[in-house]
């Protein structure tokens, strides 16, 4: 049975269907208070639908969830009072100043004027935009807008902050600035952060735990280190050979130091626990299979390797959406 106060986010068989298509399929997970929780998944995996349900934008088809201790269906308004949402698109108003953007959102949450102004000053300082607060947002760079939107999302001191691809399209410096901001927030406050991202380094850097979402389900959930342990071998050796790859792979699979061999085009990817030390034996095994190594590369298992291991290499083009014959893309789509 769900205990609303024990978790920042708690879902119970949360499901969303659009006609015959199940976007989110009986998802169960818990996010602890103060945690930075990451959601990774290929395009169309169901992450956005899941977050939209948790932020009360979409009603679930079945199942339930609590966010910040309130039921998303029965007490949607209370949920909205307690969450901050920073969507993927840059949504700050270009015709308003940075200050006005933050202040007006404070009004939306009913934050009293003096408190609102105090917080706006503090937040704009935190995101390093104090000196540009009175400039129109139209004059800001993408990174500045994203920082402003983080400040805007925090104006009412939310308990849970949802960020959807917060660094997409930003230059490396701006990405780092956003990371620093989120780490600072995590270290200095009790806020819970739900982060949806495609960037593995971002998830690894920022998240306490990560859920890998695919086909509307959570297929793995653990700390970044824990996720890596779910996969065989701590190292990856990428080898190119001049002979028959299939034959070499079959030979390598019989070796005790090899956990797994996969063929990726003209490359063999070998999972092993001690990459650096197995290289001489590996070269010997390739040669005894009648081939020669033409290139070799060793790296430690990354979160991306884990992600690919769980979700596969197939490109995920989203299913074709219905577009009206009469008005083209002019009418809203169901998903």
């Amino acid at each position: 049975m769900m205990e609303p106060d024990s978790a920042a986010i708690l879902t119970e068989d949360l499901t969303k269907r659009f006609g015959n298509f199940t976007a989110v399929d009986s998802v169960n997970f818990e996010v602890r208070r103060g945690e930075v929780f990451g959601m990774l998944g290929p395009n169309g995996a169901g992450k956005t639908t899941l977050v939209r349900m948790l932020t009360t934008l979409l009603p679930p088809t079945s199942g339930r969830a609590t966010v910040a201790g309130e039921d998303i269906g029965r007490h949607a308004r209370k949920v909205r009072e307690r969450i901050g949402v920073i969507p993927q698109a840059l949504t700050s108003d270009l015709d308003l100043t940075g200050w006005e953007n933050v202040d007006i959102y404070g009004c939306f949450y009913g934050v009293p004027r003096s408190e609102r102004h105090k917080r706006a000053h503090r937040l704009l300082e935190m995101v390093r935009l104090s000196d540009r607060a009175n400039d129109l947002v139209a004059t800001y760079s993408g990174g500045m807008r994203r920082r402003l939107e983080i400040a805007r999302g925090l104006i009412h001191s939310p308990r849970v902050l949802f960020l959807d691809e917060p660094t997409i399209g930003l230059d490396p410096q701006s990405r780092r600035a956003v990371w620093d901001l989120l780490l600072e927030l995590h270290n200095e406050s009790e806020i819970t952060v739900s982060l949806t991202t495609h960037y593995m380094d971002e998830a690894e850097q920022l998240c306490d735990r990560i859920a890998i979402v695919d086909h509307g389900k959570i297929i793995a959930l653990d700390t970044p280190a824990g996720l890596k342990k779910l996969v065989n071998g701590s190292d990856r050796v990428e080898v190119q050979v001049d002979g028959n790859s299939e034959q070499v792979a079959a030979s390598l699979r019989t070796q005790t130091y090899v956990s797994e061999v996969t063929i990726d085009g003209d490359k063999l990817i070998i999972a092993t626990d001690d990459g650096a030390h197995v290289i001489p034996r590996l070269i010997e095994s390739v040669e005894s299979a009648g081939s020669r190594v033409t290139s070799l590369n060793v790296h430690q298992l990354s979160l991306e390797d884990v992600f690919i291991r769980f979700t596969g290499r197939t490109l995920r083009d989203e299913a074709a959406k219905k577009v009206s014959f009469l008005v083209g893309a002019g009418m809203p789509q169901q998903r």
Binding site: L58, R80, T91, L96, Y105, F108, Y109, G328, G330, P332
Partner: protein, 371 residues
Amino acid sequence: MKTLAIMRRDLLKLMRNPLTLLSTVLMPIIYLVVIGNSFQGQLRHLPVAVVAQDHGIYARRVVEQLLALQAGPKTVTLSFVSDPGTAIAGVRNGEYKGAVIIPPNFSHSVAEGRIAEIGLFTDNVDTVSSSTLESVLSDAAASIKVDFVTAREPKLNEIVMRPSWLFTYVDYDRSLIPGVIVMAIFMGSLMAGVFNWVMDKFMGVTECYLVTPLSRWNIAAGILGSGVTITSAVAVFVLFLGLLITRGTIEGGFPALMTLIGIIVITSTGLLAMTFAILGRAGHPRLVGTFAGFLNVILFFPSGAIYPVESFPPWLRSFAAYNPETHAVNAIKQILFKGADFAAVMHDLAFLLVFMGITLTLASMSFKRTL
């Protein structure tokens, strides 16, 4: 506070986009200036061929009358042609707008009191020129016998009609002002209302609204409040600009102005809610643009803004009776030009209020608090 915050945001955005505001003012004013100057005024210099096959006294008088029309009001520019076939061919090929053919024995027929006819061939494809020629040339032909009418005092049993104007003269330019005000309201309600909303939706801003504790009422009232404020301000500005251009005044002074503002606010609210009910769920601003032009034509032209509703065929007159812009135009006309009291516009106001109530209900029904 929440509703006011939405209004503040929308108003700030619109104020910082003067070009958008200007377009909502300019469009109706362009209508006023262009239509006002292209649909009115006497026709001048209509090319007319004259074939005088009779040179008797009455034929000469007809020609004198035609020359007087050419010299005086300059309605026609005459070309004397010897052959009726050439004259008619000229009308057919567009060289002339009409051909007047005075047949042989015309004067003789007049003198003998027989029916004397003058042939008039007009380019009746151009209906306005054609009817003007028919009218002025018939008058000219008829006037040749005035000399023979003895001047006399009206008899006791004769009815004499003395036309007199009940209201200040309103020329065609000025008569367009109610229409352009209503057009400004329509344009304003689109730009400040549904277009803004759909653009916000397209840009993902609406999603940010929906995850805040703003209620449906907060959002709807905020958008409506800012939309009506901007639209009404634009319409009042257009009213004064229109009066300035046409050198007019408001009959009835300040109380009439207040009534006009009331009509403008009610019409703005109704049209804003109507556009929301129709287009509020569109996902792309392009769709609003497409429908806006369409809606403008079907509401504006049958409203009596340019031509009286009484001239419409029955089906269009039936539509006009339920067209909110017809009632808005009529109510504004009554107040602006006649200084009429509340009773005179009660019917139109009642219609506009009912229309506002229905469209507000439909708009709120179509507005969803979730995606």
